[in-house]
């Protein structure tokens, strides 16, 4: 800033405003995000539950007091005691061990199905949201038709036709998730594509794929993350319901849904066969939902 000559007036220099570089800024952002999450009590509780079950799913073999598949013809339908904290089932197996082991199955199936749905759904959502036109119209009609049938009904149909394998279960849930996630991604994309930086990219001659992946996608990670956690909760819900209906995993798997289905017949005499797996499943699902809710609040800031 020059001084204006002769008038005795001096222009004061303006101090440069402090400005962080990209890496420092990214670190600061992440720290702020974590801090906000930690402040949310619902998130903390949910995360704690989730972490507990994940650790259990990985390390159950080291924790279980008895073999979850270990049959004991003499000690069947025993009430909870110091030897068997959760009692034994109709085949004499220790319910506590089976409950601990059951987390592993659902915590493999659900994330896999969600991941599949995420990949498919994000791609589909980006394409329909960005290009619109007849592709969007046709796909939207098909998606609406899918939604007319509840997830459970479709899954029942498909599994009954194609066979009850774990892979099929993951595929079915994942494929059904695809249009659901695509819808959320699509509305996020619809909002972003009106922003002027997208117009600027078009004016530069950027190709469609580059705009979708490089310009728009980084700006919609928030809604996608929230959607992913919500879907994860639903995947757990769906997978265990399917097992309960008898179309999922088969005996002697310690899957919780299956345990509850088996235990139904013995509800009058051995309530512990049903209540403990139900409680375990309940806590896991509630935990994931609390995490989803906490994330949602923070993302919406």
């Amino acid at each position: 800033m020059a001084s204006v000559e002769g008038s005795g007036l001096e222009l004061t220099p303006v101090p440069p405003a402090p400005v962080l570089d990209v890496r420092a800024e990214r670190r600061r952002r992440r720290r702020e995000l974590l801090r906000a999450l930690v402040r949310s009590k619902t998130f903390i509780v949910g995360a704690a539950i989730l972490i507990f079950w994940v650790v259990d799913a990985i390390f159950w073999r080291a924790i279980v007091p008895h073999d979850p598949l270990g049959v004991d013809p003499i000690g069947t339908l025993k009430a909870p005691s110091s030897a068997h904290w959760f009692g034994t089932d109709n085949l004499g197996r220790d319910v506590f061990s089976r409950v601990l082991a059951g987390a592993a199955t659902v915590l493999v199936i659900a994330p896999a199905a969600t991941a599949l749905g995420l990949v498919g759904g994000t791609t589909l959502g980006l394409i329909t949201g960005f290009y619109r036109g007849w592709v969007d119209d046709v796909v939207s009609r098909i998606v609406d038709a899918f939604l007319a049938l509840p997830l459970i009904v479709i899954t029942v149909l498909v599994l009954a036709s194609l066979g009850r394998t774990t892979l099929n279960l993951i595929l079915v849930i994942g494929i059904i998730f695809t249009p659901l996630i695509a819808r959320t991604v699509r509305s996020a994309v619809l909002a972003e594509r009106e922003r002027e930086y997208v117009a600027a990219a078009r004016l530069r001659g950027e190709r469609g794929i580059r705009i979708m992946v490089w310009e728009i996608l980084p700006n919609i990670t928030g809604p996608i993350t929230v959607e992913a956690t919500v879907r994860l909760a639903y995947a757990i819900f769906a997978a265990t319901t399917i097992s309960f209906l008898g179309l999922g995993l088969q005996d002697p798997s310690p899957d919780w849904g299956l345990q509850i289905a088996n235990g139904r017949a013995y509800m009058q005499v051995a309530w512990w066969m049903v209540i403990f797996p139900a409680a375990a499943l309940g806590t896991l699902v509630v935990g994931v939902n609390l995490v989803a809710d906490g994330l949602k609040r923070v993302v919406e800031e």
């Binding site: 800033m1 204006v4 008038s7 007036l9 222009l11 004061t12 303006v14 101090p15 440069p16 405003a17 400005v19 962080l20 570089d21 990209v22 800024e25 922003r195 002027e196 930086y197 117009a199 600027a200 990219a201 078009r202 004016l203 530069r204 001659g205 950027e206 190709r207 310009e215 980084p218 700006n219």
Partner: protein
Amino acid sequence: MSAAPPVQTGAVEIDGLTVSYRRRQLLLRVLTDVSFTIKPGEAYGLVGESGCGKTTVAMSLMRYLPPNAVIESGSLSFGGDDLLAADERTLRRWRGDRMAMVYQDPGTALNPSIRIGDQIAEVFRFHRGMDKQEAREASAHMVSTVQISDAAGVLRRYPHELSGGQQQRIMFAMALATDPDLLVLDEPTTGLDATVEAEVLDLVENLRDQFNTSILFVSHNLGIVARMCERVGVLYAGRLIEQGNAREVFRDPRHPYTLALLRCVPRLGMRKDTDRLDPIPGSLPALGADMPGCVFADRCPIARDRCVESPPELMPVSDGHMARCFFHEEVPDIPPMAAATQEDAAPVPDEVLLQVSDLVKTYKFSGTEVVAVGGVDVVIKRGEVFGLVGESGSGKTSFAKCIVGLIDVTSGELSFEGMDVSKPAGKRPGEARRRLQMVFQNPDNALNPTHSVRAILRRSLKLLAGVRGRDQQDHQMNDLARSVRLEPRHLDVRPSALSGGLKQRVAIARSFAGSPAMVLCDEPTSALDVSVQAAILNLLVDLQRRQGVSYVFISHDLAVVRYVSDSIGVMYLGKLVDVGSAEQVFASPHHPYTEALLSAIPTFDIDESRPRIKLSGTLPSATDVPSGCPFHTRCPRVLGEICRTEVPPWQEDGERHRYRCHIPPAELEELQKTAPEQAEDVVA
């Protein structure tokens, strides 16, 4: 509070108001020790840029602050009553009855699910105890008071069925229904078209005569405040830094900030060749920043040590005029900072750059067809700045988007540097993209928030200038940054870390990366603070001279357009109605619409009373463009049948000016020496 003599109703006294906002354990100070009074029946204007706290003052008066706001100290009294001590029930009685408020964006301010009549009637039913029938009659009466015809019909409608101007009139009707003592107006005309804005301001003046209410008029627009208010107060960073009689303050400002504010706004007579705008260096202090001395010291041209050490009090300048500056006597002598540019413009060959022939753009909306651009012909030469003017529905945005290739053209020819550019940008030759670029209105939206500035510019350099290789790109980037006065430290950050002005510089650099021959500027300064606008306008003018670039410059601010443009085009309902050199278009004879637009600009020269030209009726819908001359439904100089039945021809006024009208130039010039007969019942 002092023991005052009996206070009249409508008098407002604000004393030492200090307000902060609580944000996550911190208290951010928004207003510091603000004091002023409003006499009964007086209009007091409160001006300042965004973030200065003027809306907080208005909301404090209505006692409607957000829950995290804290009134740390001060007193608010209204007609002798203590506003701060009033409880919820008392406030509810006063609001809508003794004090009322009208603010911006009337479209969202009215409940979309309730009929207009019911929304007005509520005020009568709850504050005056009227029954349904009485309230309906009183509402109808208010609707005609605000000069809307067919009151009964309007009462039955829903807000979305009214135009913006009509909606705002309804807000006034609700506010004045109970003849309040105080009317608080917070940017009531921001967002409205220029002609509609002028109508609404006329209405306010009209109503003042009828109702004798005290008014607090909050606005960032100095011209409007100069027109409407007797006294004015200037806020900067939450402090009242100057106050006094409006005419006097604007004619003889005594605070460096007020002076700077007046100097950085282009006024109608200014031209880029002869006058330079004075930007204010630096930027506004951060919200809640603690400054030991004068809050303006770091940007002030006459600041001294004393200014930085101790905060100045309000010093008396003359009767009623006060300024918060130790050295207010020196203010009139502060010279303009920048002299008019001396550097020579780059030599530019005299040839046609862009040729537009019969451009038509129509949109299809579920069955109906909307003609946004109805056949426009324009020729723009190399190095020429073409200003494009028009209100909402004029089609200027669609026109601009067609030129630059953001939307496809329905029919017509577009030729740029000999290349056919009637296709969208993606399908044009790369050379056309490089040479024809755009700067957008909103810098927050125009830069991808997840990319760093360096990445953004690198991409443009690669695609538009064909520069490959990181080193090459970085090297050229430094030159590019310097040309828009960005510093290297600005490059490695995300846009969110930069201020609005800096972001816009990045956007400009991005468009200039490929050395374009033409840049489309769509309201490039409208989203920026006034003090920053001048710097960006200066930059655009400099770049234009230095590189011989041509602009299509769109702005709703006629003074800015006049400042920057060599030639001007005026659009109305998709048609070009007036086009030619800037001087000629803005001087008589010109199209009656241009005449009306010019008369709508609020002016500082308050002594010179210019006749306001009112337009009758509302803007016709774009789905139903009137026959013959599209302007005939509102034209104050309409001839008669011929204007309705026949499309008006181009009238040539000299070599460089033509307009579409049935009145030839000589006759029109004679007519436009006097104001036309005013329209009776204005409904706009």
